[in-house]
Symmetry: C2
Subunit: 255 residues, 2 copies
């Protein structure tokens, strides 16, 4: 199984602290050493980094840990291969363009017998169940809404419907973002924390490192961190319910 | 105007030497300081780095100069904005998926009044003429060949036809690759060199740096470097003719 990390904020924020702890699970504090990746939205553009090396051994992961890229929506993934060999084309997150926006997707879990007919414009490049699921999602959204994205409540309902269909085939914890919102679906394991005023100190679970967010934030900042298992030891993480899809906008889960 | 650099090889090769000279044109030896980008094919996967900072000031360019990523096909671009503001979504190269392969595209030049109807699945995310041209190219290829890529001679003829259509609107020097071949079209300025046995020393034009390729190659290696203006002072660069499309496979231009 893999691990997922995502961030959704109301002001562009760097993910250096959370990624530092997360990257340790890529081969040091956990066994996810079959590649990793991270995608940052910056405006409507995306910075996309993937590497088939373990995150702890990757010079690119080292760069991310020290280069504060500020973003409203970030999705990261460390991989332990279950389907598809260890290769760059199988590293998450995956990126496609639809409706003139980039869509970023990452998956944790394993789908059995999921073999959708992909006869639209989205085809997998690699050979993972995850990229198949992403292409299926986009194809279905295009089939339903054509060339124009629907309003958020309609889009959310469609995505909830589609992820439930995919989740019938196995474990489907996933993160999806078009740069305006972050969709997080829990099959088995996902939790989140909202960091907002008054900010406090947070201590990483995977490394002896802490940060006092009150020193690096303004009272208006709000950041949602969503992850497979809690990243810090002294914050209150809220678990998702199995089957739950949450949509985060401006650092808050939408009701 | 921008500058282009591409590499096509018969064995995975790093581009550290050529990129080091090229990156100097991104703000030091030339005025291309409105962002830069580079994409490396690795198997069927792509590593894609873009930055809206000048290449000489970019920590990511610094990483690329020191991290030897080996690839058969690389496309790089440094930008001087003519259309579209300085923003990440306007940095080349652009990446899309078609036929289950990634396609990478970069453009040097300026198109006037080019406003194709884009009613297929490929839409620009940013607001450059270049990304419009890329989406037009892919849409036309999909319209002509449907879901299955044609044989190389047919594909090459179609691309030659399409780039000629686009070039009617202005300067259209461009690089395009699907990871198996590199297509390079010259409107005004493009040249190439083939490095092969017996390898010799090469001296960069933009920095006091040389490399003796005979020390880092095997007799079977063959590398084509294609660039806007020659990168080295002591190699023989061949200029493209205006209007010429060349296809490079395994480090050689195809006749």
């Amino acid at each position: 199984m893999c691990q997922l990390l995502a961030m959704n904020c109301n002001v562009p924020t760097d993910i250096v602290f959370s990624f530092t702890g997360f990257a340790h699970r890529g081969g040091r504090t956990d066994t996810h050493h079959d590649g990793w990746g991270i995608a940052f939205f910056e405006g409507s553009g995306v910075r996309h980094f993937v590497d088939h090396q373990a995150a702890i051994a990757s010079p690119i992961a080292e760069l991310i840990k020290h280069y504060p890229i500020k973003s409203l929506n970030v999705i990261a993934h460390i991989r332990k291969a279950t389907q598809g060999q260890v290769a760059l084309e199988n590293c998450h997150p995956f990126v496609r363009e639809m409706w003139g926006r980039y869509w970023v997707f990452a998956h944790n879990g394993d789908l059995k017998g999921f073999d959708p007919i992909l006869d639209g414009p989205y085809r997998p490049v690699g050979n993972t169940d995850s990229e198949q699921a992403f292409c299926f999602l986009l194809q279905q959204l295009r089939d339903r809404f054509g060339d124009t994205p629907p309003a958020m409540p309609v889009l959310r309902a469609a995505i909830a419907d589609l992820v439930a269909i995919i989740a019938r085939y196995g474990t489907f914890n996933m993160m999806l973002s078009d740069g305006t919102a972050l969709f997080a679906h829990c099959s088995t394991k996902l939790c989140y924390v909202i960091r907002q005023y008054p900010f406090d100190k947070a201590c990483l679970a995977d490394e002896d490192l802490s940060v006092d967010f009150s020193q690096v934030t303004t009272p208006n900042d709000r950041v949602a961190i969503i992850v497979t298992t809690p990243l810090t030891t002294n914050e209150t993480w809220t678990e998702f319910a199995p089957g739950e899809l949450k949509v985060f906008v401006d650092g808050l889960p939408q009701s």
